[in-house]
Symmetry: C2
Subunit: 194 residues, 2 copies
């Protein structure tokens, strides 16, 4: 008998416009469709950390109970787990580089502001662009929440795949040897399961 | 026979104006004086990670070899070490909070810039203040370099004390159960050793 495939699910699979269309047009429909497709499959076990589940149901509202139990809510054993020191080194270095980038964004927009007269509209535009660029510099492609780390730690603990379309998550999960599945690959996996 | 006391040394002890005066008036003199005082002590073993040693000699120039060997250059076994997952959680959360703070600094100084005319002097002043405030928001009291983490990892590996006056280092070292010594405590320790 083949072992069951374990999959840890990230919200992005159901929420991000780029990936949720694989299962449905809205987050709610994507989640419903997904649970319907795994209902008859005995080979796949799906997990979600409670912290990520709470994020998810903000977008989808809670599922009817008979569907909801198809995705097991399990937190990682974070008080018992450890990670390689090297991962922490890499994270510190990456954060440092990003902090420097963030400062360059700050300087750029202060200079731009100095060249403008202070109309409310101009201020709003400049600050909005600065925010966007700052967020990309400091957040995109990095682990930036405990929910992200819950997903990685749970996948590691269960020796499960991580299904996500978040580039930061994929990058850091792969450093720990975790297989990642995008929405399409997850759909294929389910289709070929019994 | 009592065990030797192991001490891992941070540059701050010799370089920061607030603490180096304990051993000498300039970084060079502080380091020389320190090595002179431990020369006759058999109970104290001093260590420094090579990465931190390279930082240090930028300030002090290399010591004469007979003094230099009193501080053992040892890197942490970073490829074999692990850290508790919880430490990484805390670091992610702290970084997240600081990134948000950094953005508020950015916004504040853009608004200030918008209210000024663009003279070179004003621009320079505003950008300098922004830099300073941004650095405090994102760097002060946090591990922000691999050198910092080398110190923590080496102290953990050797079950040594860490001698530093860096608040960020102290905070994160203590989370791993590492004893920290400020310059004064280090001087006392040496004085009372044989």
């Amino acid at each position: 008998m083949k072992n069951n495939t374990k999959v840890v699910l990230d919200t992005s699979i159901f929420v991000n416009p780029d990936s949720r269309f694989i299962f449905g047009n809205t987050p709610r429909k994507a989640l419903e469709k997904f649970t319907e497709t795994i209902k008859e499959k005995n080979n796949i076990e799906c997990y979600i950390p409670p912290s990520v589940y709470h994020e998810l149901i903000k977008f989808t509202k809670e599922l009817p109970y008979h569907l909801d139990i198809l995705i097991k809510k399990k937190p990682p054993a974070s008080y018992q787990s450890s990670i390689p020191a090297l991962l922490f080194y890499e994270f510190i270095e990456e954060t440092r580089a990003r902090v420097n980038k963030g400062l360059r964004v700050t300087e750029k927009y202060i200079r731009r502001g100095l060249k403008e007269t202070d109309s409310r509209e101009t201020a709003q535009n400049i600050i909005q662009s600065a925010r966007q660029e700052y967020r990309i510099a400091l957040r995109e492609g990095i682990l930036d929440s405990k929910e992200d780390f819950d997903l990685i730690l749970l996948a590691k603990e269960l020796q499960a795949c991580l299904s996500t379309s978040d580039k930061g998550l994929i990058k850091w999960a792969q450093k720990l040897g975790i297989s990642c599945l995008c929405a399409e690959e997850l759909k294929e996996l389910i289709k070929n399961s019994s």
